[in-house]
Homo-oligomer: 261 residues x 4
Amino acid sequence: MNSTMALRIAVFGENRHEKVDQRVQEIYPDGMHTVIAEGLRTLLAADGVEAEVRIALLDDIEESLSEEALAETDVLTWWGHMAHEDVPDHIVERVVRRVHEGMGLVPLHSAHYSKPFKALMGTTCNLLWRNDGEEERVWTVSGSHPIARGVPHPIVVPEQEMYGEMFDIPAPDELVFISSFAGGEVFRSGAVFRRGKGKVFYFSPGDQEYPVYRQADIQRVLANAVTWARPEDRPAAPVTITNAQRDWFRADDPEGATRVI
Amino acid sequence: MNSTMALRIAVFGENRHEKVDQRVQEIYPDGMHTVIAEGLRTLLAADGVEAEVRIALLDDIEESLSEEALAETDVLTWWGHMAHEDVPDHIVERVVRRVHEGMGLVPLHSAHYSKPFKALMGTTCNLLWRNDGEEERVWTVSGSHPIARGVPHPIVVPEQEMYGEMFDIPAPDELVFISSFAGGEVFRSGAVFRRGKGKVFYFSPGDQEYPVYRQADIQRVLANAVTWARPEDRPAAPVTITNAQRDWFRADDPEGATRVI
Amino acid sequence: MNSTMALRIAVFGENRHEKVDQRVQEIYPDGMHTVIAEGLRTLLAADGVEAEVRIALLDDIEESLSEEALAETDVLTWWGHMAHEDVPDHIVERVVRRVHEGMGLVPLHSAHYSKPFKALMGTTCNLLWRNDGEEERVWTVSGSHPIARGVPHPIVVPEQEMYGEMFDIPAPDELVFISSFAGGEVFRSGAVFRRGKGKVFYFSPGDQEYPVYRQADIQRVLANAVTWARPEDRPAAPVTITNAQRDWFRADDPEGATRVI
Amino acid sequence: MNSTMALRIAVFGENRHEKVDQRVQEIYPDGMHTVIAEGLRTLLAADGVEAEVRIALLDDIEESLSEEALAETDVLTWWGHMAHEDVPDHIVERVVRRVHEGMGLVPLHSAHYSKPFKALMGTTCNLLWRNDGEEERVWTVSGSHPIARGVPHPIVVPEQEMYGEMFDIPAPDELVFISSFAGGEVFRSGAVFRRGKGKVFYFSPGDQEYPVYRQADIQRVLANAVTWARPEDRPAAPVTITNAQRDWFRADDPEGATRVI
């Protein structure tokens, strides 16, 4: 995309724990999605990145992630946990196709188990976990990565659910963060995957029972991530299967040379 | 697996073109699967690798890729083209799960579009193609890879269908071969992917209309690939999702320390 | 670096063939470096990227790549061939250190054999070659990479020196382009490597005997590459070796949490 | 190499701390190298791998790592710390060249700073450290890797020197282990790098002040590593730079097709 155009972000929130779990209501009275969206707005403005941040909820998913809505979404962040199964398969296919077309996807925390992420990974995405309010330290392991820009080394999250290895994902294309927990486990907590023309960044800090998304350094990572994940300036279509005649790429038709990608 | 145990290989063949296409019948009167299996038997014996090679056909897929049959399969090679859709989804899920458990998978040529490969990749697996009987040269680009052992640089396939980039796959964990074609296209023709506890090697030479699988160097690559793809000596189960108590890995129970992987 | 600051680029040219080889003089009467620099100025301006492009020649290398000059260089492009040995080792060490600190490096064509590139790779960087004026086709193999933005698939270079595999480099962190040549060879012609805090993009099209750097699509790749390779907003120092006391990252001193990277 | 030939291993030991440091003398009265070598002999015999394990010391480095000695070495393990500078540069070049030719290299612990490893990486290899006798837990993160075969998840080292991120290495070709320490740091403690025709496995557990190499699980990793790192069956020469005539690979001369790799 043209870097002078506004970055169009959709913050998908399952918004279920917020309705049924008092502890979550106290931490996030307006939902996690509200805090995530507000953090993005504030930090992207500070970065000088023109951005439009909208919220997409499971309750209105047919509209908020409709074909038309996704066609105008550059980056989609995704938080889900207890209601992964309530996301209709046709919407999962749509989200996956949009990633193939170039849309960025930022699955958060328990979205390791969301349908779109699992479909894009091809693995079980299983892991080890324990909800015991442990300190998490998020260490940067890529010295040149834009997603780690401006965050301390490590980011310390005072209380968190533990996610631990073995995390059953493909080897990330780039590993940005590794976390350790007070109990001793480690986790590949920030991982880049490229799929088709789209970029995926999985980021694990952020359980609903702790105010992780209120933490400035975590918001910094999310702002970096959506900026990084924005589509490049390419046609928004998946790579196609094409029967190409000999010498097609030397044809006079200027379309000839650019039809594939 | 213990390297002293026999390597149990299943050669899956769609066996459709062989029934309906005279040209294919002439090249492969007993089916491509027969030539592939025989090449594996001969070369693995020459390598001193004890192996059992069986054939699994689409016509008997409920038996040949049954739960029991796959449980006793170390590496599965897969050739399919015109009948991808005839592979039942429950068998696709079974094959994918077995890869997660450790089974090796070697998708061949048009199996870039087979259901198991697409499910493991998470991309469209689209590509460029042209059936024009062109010379293909298969170049080794990994100087230390066992799958390229003993093959000339390049392997020259006199006549082949062209497969060209963009090939819409995730970046391979290891890129072993790149092909060029007489028409000028290139293709990542030998690519390694690790998924769960299993290893996947996609190898593109081998269209049904040319006697590619009768070529000694191609048979050499297949024999190298199945040897490389055999499961490591691990429990045959996917990585599990586990709720782990604090200090579980310091517990006296010797099972404690090994329960995850 | 702050994306609102000017991108400071140095175009290093060996400028030897231009002095002694009539054919090169005819193609590049003011040197290859001049054409490369002018292409960058024009295209970055068109992209809206504020940039300062200076030329650094081997003849004035003590000044043009002095400590002070490199400290104010964000990205260094490097063309060398017949005089690799004339680059003093202390300047090689300086360039390598600056890459570790975050400076981008874009080695071009025969700079696969330049001292800084070899030092950063740790391999022989050997390859196959033939100067026979062959058509080269540069294929994009990464659907989401910014360096391939806006170029046709493939870029066709009408006449070029052939560079072929095996190219003895580490597996690239990201493979962006693969070339084929009329003679049948292939080459990983666009490859990303991250070293320390710096980014390296090797790009092979560009022999001195053909007007490759006058080609618009090649200039597009170079402009994309220097934009991509610019340093992130980090302290310009290599990762340090540090003896850290327990709990250092929980210390009150705000410097504590950020001293490592 | 032919898997039926004996695996020829050299265990390089600096053997300096053992002479001057009483604590090290008590843990390793015959030197770390002796314990490492004995562990390899025992476990490889149990694995049914025919192996010859010799010791190479800094004191006799001109003989033990002579051209002739290295020519008959398949895998070299390397432990060094206080005397990195005493390794002559011509021997460093020899070791690096042998890796390019196919020899395996297994740098251990403080050998992250050894000359051969740094030359092969192209980075500073800096890291964070603290010698405070902390528990280290070594977690497997690659579900299919042979180097992790048969070890618990995690391996617990009761007391160790801490090595922490940022570890300034290139992104590993395969990441096998990540460690956490009691103090909270993490480290990429088991990492695969391919260079030329050779394989490198860096493994960090093993400080001289703790009996780490006496631990069965650590010995298991080392035995797995040397088996994995053995050369493939290829000519023992680096990839060469070659001027190739058109159609060289179609020449009748059977040498033609195999001269490059």
